[in-house]
């Protein structure tokens, strides 16, 4: 009795019995759970069959992830740039300035008049572990040269200022302790200022007038670059600035005011201890409360500068990335839209799968996985796009933008979240379909 078919692939009754033995009853609990690997494999079928649609769906995620990644890379590059520029000012520097610390608002940094030369001498007497200290008192003045004039900052500084701040001479010489004690009318110019006043010719040996004083230029500094203002400043002995230019005598007439004391710690690890000892000393000298609540001075260091600046940069970066993240959300909505279309198109398939035993959660998993595949693929493409942008910016030399491991994790995490969030609604719709209606759907 051969008959099951007429294709020549038929089997006799005996053969069929043997075949049936090869289909033994399966374990009827069926509790093995769905084979996830197969679900992932099947979830690729639909996007692969609709490649154009899948790519268009991914576009939102590609653009979103791409812009988040490239913005974060640019932000990281900017942060690195700022750090290196701040560090180019000098390292391990501690600044003591007069005036109460204010919370918020534009501070009158250095404008108060509560720090004196005597305070500075007392700090020196502490014999702190520092490479040296320098004092500063300055103001702004009109600088008049024979060919040009310019309104500029004039900083009265100790001779040690140049070494502490890693300022180097391009030509001429710096003023020394003797010239400082004698309050000699000499100046060392920043590179830009020298150029502004004297053009590209030599400035050393010429004179400028400031505040009715004739001052001889004895040196010009090497340009420091960055965003520091030293290149546009004129440096004079602090005694000259205090006595002849800006009148810095204290109200009681016994001392001179100081706007800034700079100390360079030998070790970064000592910075906090040094700051604490200076604070105790000044509170004692100024008869202030020991808890610091009445302080009329502030002590800051470079690390705190840096952290403020970097906070601003990170905030800006996060802000921009958040805006870019909006397109991720839009991309997610695109995925949801297409998944809803897909669920409708495949209603009959869902009905069939349920009829052969798929539970609601099996269907849910299948559609969520499909949304995840689309969003993760989009995320990966977006990551490549963002990295390319970062690379292009780095190569063009604007910034060294680097794609960090964090931003890779963020991009992939984001696209996973988008896929999950926007995939679940269509998947739930699919999972909740009534198999009878779904099977009948045309």
């Amino acid at each position: 009795m051969t008959t099951l078919n007429k294709d020549g692939a038929g089997a006799s009754a005996a053969e069929n019995a043997a075949l049936m033995d090869a289909l033994p009853p399966l374990d009827n609990t069926g509790a093995g759970g769905v084979d996830l690997m197969e679900v992932v494999r099947e979830s690729l079928d639909s996007p692969l069959a609709n490649k154009g649609r899948a790519v268009l769906t991914m576009l939102g995620v590609i653009i979103g992830v791409g812009s988040v990644v490239s913005l974060l890379a640019l932000g990281a590059g900017a942060e690195k740039e700022i750090t290196s520029q701040v560090q180019s000012i000098g390292t391990n520097l501690i600044y003591v300035v007069p005036g109460a610390p204010r919370s918020g608002g534009p501070g009158q940094f250095g404008a108060a008049q509560t720090l004196t030369i005597d305070d500075a001498r007392a700090i020196d007497a502490l014999n702190l572990p520092v490479n040296g200290s320098s004092l500063q008192f300055g103001g702004s003045a009109q600088l008049v040269a024979p060919a040009a004039d310019k309104y500029a900052q004039v900083a009265g500084v100790s001779p040690s200022h140049f070494a502490l701040n890693e300022l180097t001479l391009a030509s001429g010489s710096l003023f020394d302790e003797a010239q400082e004690r004698a309050a000699e009318p000499v100046t060392v110019l920043g590179a830009n200022l020298a150029k502004d006043l004297f053009g590209s010719g030599t400035a050393v040996g010429l004179t400028v007038r400031m505040q009715d004083q004739t001052v001889r230029v004895i040196g010009v500094l090497v340009a420091k670059g960055g965003f520091s203002s030293v290149d546009d400043q004129a440096f004079v002995p602090i005694s000259f600035a205090q006595q002849r230019l800006f009148g810095a005598r204290t109200p009681d007439g016994n001392s001179y005011k100081v706007a800034l004391i700079t100390l360079s710690a030998k070790n970064a690890a000592d910075i906090q201890a040094i700051q604490d000892r200076i604070a105790v000393l000044l509170r004692d000298r100024h008869h202030l409360k020991a808890d610091g609540s009445g302080d009329d001075f502030q002590i800051v260091n470079q690390a705190s500068f840096l952290s403020v600046l970097n906070n601003i940069t990170s905030l800006l970066t996060a802000f921009l990335a958040a805006i870019a993240g909006i397109s991720l959300v839009v991309g997610g909505i695109g995925i949801m839209n297409i998944m809803l279309v897909s669920v409708t198109e495949r209603t009959k398939e869902i009905g069939l799968r349920k009829a052969v035993g798929a539970r609601g959660r099996d269907i849910l998993i299948q559609f969520v996985v499909e949304a995840l595949v689309i969003s993760l693929l989009g995320g990966a493409l977006g990551l490549s796009l963002g990295s390319l942008v970062a690379l292009a910016v780095s190569v063009s030399g604007i910034l060294s933008a680097t794609v960090t491991a964090e931003s890779v994790a963020l991009a992939l995490g984001f696209s996973t979240a988008v896929g999950l969030f926007f995939g679940i609604y269509p998947a739930r719709r699919a999972a909740q379909l009534n198999p009878i209606d779904a099977l009948r759907y045309e």
């Binding site: 009795m1 008959t3 099951l4 078919n5 007429k6 294709d7 692939a9 038929g10 089997a11 009754a13 069929n16 019995a17 075949l19 049936m20 090869a22 289909l23 033994p24 009853p25 399966l26 009827n28 609990t29 069926g30 509790a31 093995g32 759970g33 769905v34 084979d35 690997m37 197969e38 679900v39 099947e42 079928d45 069959a49 009959k348 398939e349 009905g351 069939l352 799968r353 349920k354 009829a355 052969v356 035993g357 798929a358 539970r359 609601g360 959660r361 099996d362 198999p435 009878i436 099977l439």
Partner: protein
């Protein structure tokens, strides 16, 4: 399979037991009974046709027998398991382990090969890949599709697609095969082939087969016919004539 050779009405155990089954739909405030007061038993290894005109309630009965729907009243036990008051997940489990569906429109997944279509129900039972493949190949050979493993539905004729669908119904060793108008989309000759396969599976393998149809010609392949009219069981007996596809002469002989 205790009932492998029990095809001809030898009752070994009751496969299906239906008592006072009712399904009442609510259309607004109106109660519409689709089927009501149905009671019957199907023995292991029987080949039963459920016949009725459209609107007779045979689809509703089919859905309940297939655990796609639950009765509003009465009880239904399949292979000794009462199915009323089961959760959706439990019903899915019963469909997965005890029922093999064959549909009028085959309902194959268009982008997948015959083999993967047949494997599909086993995916939801967590059957490992190798065993899945092996069982699917066996099932396809059983319906004479041993040389079409990697064809997609598009590349197969209607009859061949329906064979793949039967293989898919077979692959999990179900307690019962439920065929809903299995020849509805096929020409007469192919219909005979498909009914021949079902008949052969019933006679040779002792599979319990239930076919729902509105065509007496199709019902005639069964060894028992339940007739539904207006939601009530109005007939239960052998079909008027019973052609044995395998033994039929080219011309129709009674």
């Amino acid at each position: 399979m205790a009932a492998r050779d029990g095809g001809q009405g030898l009752v070994i155990a009751s496969m299906i037991s239906v008592v006072d089954l009712c399904k009442i739909y609510h259309m607004g405030d109106v109660e519409v009974p689709a089927v009501c007061g149905l009671s019957f038993e199907v023995a292991r290894g029987e080949f039963v046709a459920i016949i009725g005109h459209s609107g007779s309630g045979k689809s509703t009965l089919m859905n309940m027998l297939g655990c796609l729907d639950t009765p509003t009243e009465g009880t239904y036990s399949l292979d000794g398991v009462p199915t009323q008051n089961l959760s959706d997940d439990d019903l899915a489990l019963i469909r997965s382990t005890k029922i093999g569906f064959v549909f009028q429109q085959y309902n194959l997944l268009p982008r997948q090969t015959a083999l993967r279509n047949v494997e599909m129900p086993l995916v939801y039972r967590g059957v490992p890949r190798g065993e899945r493949r092996q069982r699917a190949e066996t099932a396809l050979r059983l319906v004479g599709m041993g040389n079409r493993f990697n064809h997609r539905p598009k590349e197969l004729s209607g009859g061949q697609q329906q064979r793949v669908a039967i293989a898919r119904a077979l692959v999990g060793s179900p307690a019962v095969i439920l065929a809903d108008e299995p020849t509805g989309a096929l020409d007469t000759k192919t219909s005979e082939e498909i009914m021949g396969i079902l008949q052969s599976l019933n006679r040779q393998q002792g599979l319990t087969v239930i076919v729902v149809t509105h065509e007496p010609d199709v019902a005639a392949y069964a060894n028992r016919m339940l007739t539904l009219r207006d939601g009530k069981l109005v007939g239960d007996g052998p079909p008027p004539r019973r052609p044995i596809a395998a033994e039929r002469a080219p011309e129709r002989v009674q």
